[in-house]
């Protein structure tokens, strides 16, 4: 009977547990297991997505809200030479060269045209990184800091970028700049921090006319799918074979 005596009684057990379990929990969380537990909670799988954007040029009113929202959302420097997205105004006269401008990316609106300017047609074109499937910037990055994510977004790892600016030279669309504070290449990420949580990119969210359509080409329920189905689509500089994933509806031959 002596051998059947319990090794600790109820009081001792509760005492031990109340002291040891919190200690272990503190230990485990200090070494990052907490992150692993959290990661399990998220069911986001990048392989399931292939993001892209559509631009309905006839809907764009050139208000510049998108460029402004982008600067706010992504802490893009406010100076006039750093833009992740901007809006261009095209004025095509009956004869001669097209007049194109984008003062402060269109954020402050557009100045009045010179009096007497004859206009054949005019429109606004929002521009941003095209997240090319065959991205020249990804190809030339010497350290692989610019890469295509598994969900099809071209991103820059700012902790790895050496700041050589080869990618800026290689981008045919002028979509990249060197961030004056981080000294690394920077560009549109489709607001990656938002879209992976199921939100829309800031520029799409604020567009008052629905000129920007965000979604996934491969998903039947995506608004982008509908946009691609009912419009004549073009991409910018198709001759360069960069295979952009920003699709334009109603883009004029003058748009470069």
């Amino acid at each position: 009977m002596k051998n059947n005596k319990p090794q600790m009684n109820r009081r001792e057990f509760i005492d031990t547990v109340s002291r040891k379990v919190p200690t272990w929990l503190a230990f485990v969380s200090a070494f990052g297991a907490g992150e692993l537990i959290l990661a399990k909670d998220s069911d986001y799988n990048p392989e399931d997505h292939d993001y892209a954007m559509g631009i309905e040029i006839h809907n764009c009113i050139g208000c510049g809200r998108c460029a402004d929202a982008c600067k706010n959302e992504n802490k893009v420097p406010r100076e006039h030479s750093y833009f992740r997205t901007w809006v261009e105004r095209y004025v095509i006269p009956p004869e001669g060269e097209a007049i194109v401008d984008s003062p402060n990316g269109g954020i402050d609106g557009f100045p009045k045209l010179k009096e007497g300017t004859e206009i054949l047609r005019s429109f606004f074109v929002p521009k941003l990184c095209n997240h090319c499937a065959e991205a020249p910037c990804v190809q030339v990055c010497p350290v692989g800091a610019t890469f295509t994510s598994r969900d099809g977004v071209v991103l820059v790892d700012e902790s790895y970028c050496v700041g050589c600016r080869y990618c800026i030279q290689a981008c045919p669309y002028g979509a990249r700049y060197l961030h004056p504070e981080t000294h690394t290449a920077d560009k549109c990420t489709f607001c990656y921090h938002r879209i992976t949580k199921g939100l829309l990119p800031a520029c799409v969210e604020v567009c008052p006319t629905g000129a920007r359509i965000f979604g996934e080409k491969g998903r039947r329920s995506s608004p982008l799918r509908r946009f691609l189905r009912f419009n004549d689509i073009t991409v910018l500089k198709p001759g360069l074979n960069t295979q952009p994933k920003v699709y334009y509806a109603g883009a004029d031959m003058e748009v470069r």
């Binding site: 030479s81 030339v140 050496v162 600016r165 030279q169 002028g174």
Partner: protein
């Protein structure tokens, strides 16, 4: 013609204003003076080495007086060449990532390996094998600290028997034979870094690597001509006119090929007349008028070519020939620097929207400034001075190098 002149004058009068439409991110020029200095320096490396290899592999005996000097010059410029690149990086502390975790599809990443190959396998080995006998001898003759420097430089290989020297000769020749395509690769590759950018119609040309190689040869020969004349002057030695004439001849031939290739590139662009032709024509006639038409073509190519022809094949006293050669070689350096300027800066002055031109304002101070560039251009000469003290390249027993009577 009137239009061209008018555009040039307008741009001279108001050079600081961008014109037409440029993408908002294009206001800042991303590759500036340092990136001009860099291909200029690597060009000199490749050119000087190719000149040295002419003596070694193709037995151009007239070039004997500049053989070792060319090798040391190539090494001196090679040591400094990566510095402008490094200084230009946004994060120079991460530069080794290009070697440790290179992105193999990137032309720039692979250049690191081409550079390392050329420096370690070609230049250092060739110089070591060529100097080994002298290094062993100096190690035995010199006293004090330098004795140990030379002892260390032998790397323990002190055998200078006939058989051993014959082996050195054989290996040295083999390295030079590998070295020639390597030198072509080195500077051709620099050209490829620009030429493979399809987004940029000014750069994107299959001819660019070849033009780079020949302009490298031109700049290298001209540099050796200058260095040979200046060093001879300071050493109170007679200049070997046979060698100088040969250098001038080779310089002229290389210039004819280089100019021909660039002319072909120009005609090809003009005839194809692609979408970009209007903006490029506007750029040449305004922003690049001085650096391209005046500095590169007129002063840097045509004038020195005429001077070389006149001096080499005319009947002048050697004194006059030497002056003409020297002026021609200096002008060639100005011309080649302008070539690099026109490639690097020209490629960024027009918008990729092909609708406007931006401006480049040169800084005086700072990392990307004029003073830093001058320092980087002069630094190789300092390195060369030290190298010639440690490894004297002159064979003063040569009758051609007779002492001038003071």
């Amino acid at each position: 013609m009137t239009h061209t002149l008018l555009a040039a004058l307008t741009s001279l009068a108001n050079p600081m204003a961008p014109s037409g439409y440029i993408y908002p991110n294009e206001f800042e020029l991303h590759w500036s003076l340092l990136i001009i200095v860099y291909p200029y320096l690597t060009g000199l490396v490749a050119g000087a080495f190719i000149l040295a290899s002419l003596e070694r592999v193709f037995n151009v005996k007239a070039l004997q007086p500049v053989y070792r000097l060319s090798l040391l010059t190539a090494l001196a410029f090679m040591i400094i060449a990566p510095l402008p690149l490094l200084a230009h990086l946004g994060h120079p502390e991460r530069c080794l990532e290009m070697f440790l975790t290179p992105h193999v599809a990137s032309a720039m990443a692979m250049f690191g390996f081409v550079y390392a190959w050329y420096l370690s396998v070609v230049l250092l080995l060739e110089i070591w094998f060529d100097y080994r006998k002298d290094i062993v001898n100096w190690g035995n003759e010199k006293k004090g600290f330098m004795k140990y420097v030379y002892k260390a430089l032998t790397l323990g290989a002190t055998d200078i028997s006939k058989k051993s020297l014959a082996f050195d000769e054989k290996i040295g020749r083999a390295i030079t034979i590998i070295g020639i395509p390597s030198a072509f690769l080195l500077h051709g590759y620099v050209g490829f870094i620009f030429g493979s950018i399809k987004a940029n119609p000014w750069w994107s040309s299959v001819l660019i690597p070849i033009v780079f190689i020949f302009s490298a040869i031109v700049s290298g020969i001209a540099l050796m001509l200058i260095i040979y004349m200046v060093t001879s002057m300071f050493r109170w030695k007679h200049i070997d006119m046979k060698c100088l004439n040969k250098l001038a001849e080779l310089l002229l031939y290389a210039m004819i090929i280089d100019f021909g290739l660039e002319f072909l590139d120009f005609i090809h662009r003009l005839y194809e007349s692609e979408e970009s032709i209007h903006i490029l024509a506007e750029m040449i006639s305004s922003r690049l008028f001085i650096s391209l038409i005046i500095s590169q073509i007129l002063l840097g190519s045509l004038v020195p070519m005429v001077a070389l022809v006149v001096a080499r094949f005319g009947k002048f006293p050697s004194e006059m020939k030497r002056i003409l050669y020297f002026i021609a070689a200096l002008l060639v350096q100005v011309g080649i620097f302008s070539t690099r300027w026109n490639v690097v800066i020209g490629g960024q002055l027009f918008s990729k929207s092909l609708r406007g031109l931006t401006v480049y304002k040169v800084d005086l101070f700072g990392l990307e400034g004029v003073f830093m560039s001058i320092l980087l251009l002069l630094a190789p000469l300092g390195v060369l001075y030290v190298l010639t003290k440690v490894l004297p390249p002159w064979d003063d027993t040569d009758p051609g190098a007779a002492q001038i009577q003071k």
